[in-house]
Symmetry: C2
Subunit: 460 residues, 2 copies
């Protein structure tokens, strides 16, 4: 039995707000908004509403509040934790029409982007003014600034620029009561009250609907060098990260791969590994600067205790060949069968001990492949060998890994968020007092509980 | 008539929590906690309570909540806006005994500091491990990490490292209901719920009592070069900041001085100005790196349109002589009589127009001296000529400057905060909807309204 859906009077009201063409109810039209891109999270939108302005978003939220109809805000629908699809028959609030992009303020190195602006469009826009955006993600053609802000997106350059939270200088949003808060001045120093922007970043659509963000930009760095460095063990790679962070100001990314995993990727790609990447643990390090960073990189690397000659890639083609060994992990692993994928972080000094513990804590007969953004302590843990039709075994794997993470002061969600997928595990790393505080904040800003119910905040 | 003071039963309860020696009621003992260091804000503490642990803070907050007695959290008492003194006879919660400092985690480049740790002690502690803290302030021997966090302190290195908000990776705090929230893992990527730390930073003691913070550290930069650069006008200086931000990765500070003001400082110090600092607008630029940044600085400066030969200071003594021209402003201005001091920021591209507008918007017969952290658009506006015994004229000056700021999308408090001093002006730069949201958050986390009433959030 499908959920009852919104009352006809509400749909009429919404049509009056956004125009009849922007309230979709035909299942053929709403289907694409109802399932995430992995296909793992599948719901049924009662309707999809596509506002064209912040004022329209506010009118929609007020109307839904009055009718007590729940909304799921949706951007590019590239999330991974079931936080942006209507799993309980909610109305989908699609924000892709909010695609305004201000002129680049070169003096301030900032730009204002509507929630529906894709990352790729933002990148092109600021590149023309010699600037860049500090967060980059693979689904850049689809993912939107609103979604990236609401989920505090990360990626491989966090070691240099931080996550979305660091880029967001101000937000415009519609809170749960339909009020519009807007503070897009983007001043680097502005101590005039609670930082609503910082609270909304990472709130996953549960406190307000982000309609625009003022974003910090960074210098465009046209000179890049990538290196592959081999170490005896993970502890050696961790020590190298500490050294590089101090000695290499142009450090732009530092990714960990382990011997077994990268060998699998090389076999999958049909390429031969350079000696550095045949080491037990290896780093792929990228330096980026406005002038050639090769000398700085070479000097910083010279002090490291390496087990093989480093491989240094200066040309785009050489760099591509090195990066494909990192980027090929997802495909190579998928060819072993669908893995249980976990996105976790641990304090970087405990990385070795955490990875070593995995064979002990996991059920027997399973293989584990670990790689990730070592500069941030962010590891992607992939466990293969669990049949797709045995969800209880997958859940046992998730719990075992999460417990190993939490015992070491780690996080069960490094960059993907909680969504609906991990809400049952939140208590593992946030205390009862914290969850009570989350609920109090949720009630304060979304008193009718209509914004993304079931996401992030565990039910009372 | 003094306020009634806390009930005797409450004081007994507090003595049982912290020990009788740590509940001060003798006016000789409480006087120092009742007035701010400028002497402008003077109250009378009903009592001063000095807890020695987070658990004791929680017990105090619970006891005060049950008795509906208000608390003012206090650190080093170096604030400038009357946010940390008991102006309405509140109980002072002095946090200086919470002075634990963890071992430095070199791999993560982090440390955990109790609220009562002074900035100077933190700096010494991390310096020994080759690291530094990203925020530096003149009252470093007194100001505490708790107060700096609660007020989102800034200073001259924000252009490189951001404010306290950027340094704080996690917080332990006691909320208004006496519950303890603690998330000190300091993971750079951790998307597990609302960012309570980001909300508490800058909340000025109104949502929770910060008891400890996990802090990001930065590499210690032992090589520094300072330069004085002269420009035809403020617009030229602003264009130079834009250029330096991209071309000089070692940019550590960039301060603006104007001809009249710096001439006053030079006369006050009895020194001669180098030609660069006799220009209409001048920048004092500092570059800092792990290796000598002179070459990088020289290359970046070579592209600028200067009106005089730059002055470049490489030795500590040369650098001191240049910096004294910036640091001498407060004393030189004070010798003209007590000024009306405003701490504002404007979008950096509107700096010239804002400064030019001041003579027009200010009442006649007054002089204005502007200088500040141009890299952040943070300007200190000092207006002289208002007699100390004419507060209505001082208020007219404040209002005129604030309006000129707000018309340009600026902030009426760049780094000092709102406190009690500016709460009446908050509506100038935050909308009614934002203030409603602030009140809702305040009620959510401090339901009994006992934490720093009268500070930051305007009365309903």
């Amino acid at each position: 039995v499908p959920p009852p859906g919104p009352p006809a009077a509400l749909l009429d009201e919404l049509r009056a707000v956004v125009g009849p063409n922007h309230v979709l109810t035909d299942p053929d039209q709403t289907a694409g908004f109802s399932v995430d891109w992995t296909g793992r999270f599948r719901g049924a939108a009662a309707a999809v509403v596509r506002p064209g302005s912040t004022e329209e978003v506010a009118a929609i939220v007020r109307a839904c509040g009055a009718s007590r109809v729940a909304l799921v805000p949706q951007g590019g629908n590239t999330g991974l934790v079931g936080g942006g699809v209507p799993l309980a028959g909610e109305l989908v609030l699609s924000l892709t029409r909010l695609d305004a992009l201000s002129a680049v303020d070169v003096a301030a190195a900032q730009v204002t982007a509507g929630a529906g602006v894709t990352l790729a469009r933002l990148q092109e826009h600021v590149d023309r003014r010699g600037l860049a955006f500090g967060v980059d993600l693979a689904p850049r053609d689809s993912c939107t600034i609103g979604g990236m802000t609401a989920t505090n997106a990360g990626g491989i350059n966090v070691v240099r620029y931080g996550t979305m939270r660091t880029q967001v200088m101000g937000i415009e949003a519609v809170l749960g009561d339909g009020s519009v808060v807007s503070h897009l001045t983007g001043l680097p120093k502005d101590n005039t009250g609670y930082d609503l922007a910082a609270l909304l970043v990472g709130s996953e659509g549960t406190l307000g609907v982000i309609t625009a963000a003022r974003l910090r930009l960074v210098p465009r760095l046209d000179h890049r060098v990538t290196a592959g460095l081999g170490f005896d063990d993970i502890a050696g790679a961790v020590a190298a990260v500490t050294h590089l962070r101090a000695a290499l100001p142009s450090l732009h990314a530092v990714e960990l791969v382990l011997a077994e995993g990268v060998a699998l990727v090389a076999a999958d790609l049909g390429v031969e590994l350079p000696p550095a990447l045949r080491a037990p643990a290896a780093l792929i390090v990228e330096a980026a600067a406005t002038t050639d960073p090769l000398e700085e990189l070479a000097a910083a690397v010279a002090d490291l205790d390496l087990v093989a000659e480093p491989v240094v890639a200066g040309t785009p083609e050489q760099r591509r060949r090195l990066w494909q060994l990192r980027e090929g992990f997802a495909d190579a692993i998928n060819r072993l069968g669908p893995p249980v994928k976990l996105d976790v972080s641990v304090p970087i000094g405990r990385t070795a001990e955490f990875v070593d513990s995995l064979p002990r804590v996991l059920p027997g007969g399973l293989d584990v492949i670990v790689f990730g953004h070592l500069g941030d302590g962010n590891l992607h843990v992939n466990v293969t060998g669990v049949p797709a039709d045995e969800p209880a075994r997958a859940q046992a794997v998730e719990e075992a890994v999460h417990r190993a993470v939490v015992e070491r002061g780690g996080s069960i969600s490094a960059e993907h968020g909680i969504g609906t997928a991990k809400v049952r595990y939140l208590h593992l790393c946030r205390s009862p007092a914290e969850i009570v505080a989350f609920r109090a904040i949720k009630r304060a800003l979304d008193p009718a509980a209509i914004l993304n119910p079931g996401v992030l905040v565990p039910a009372d």
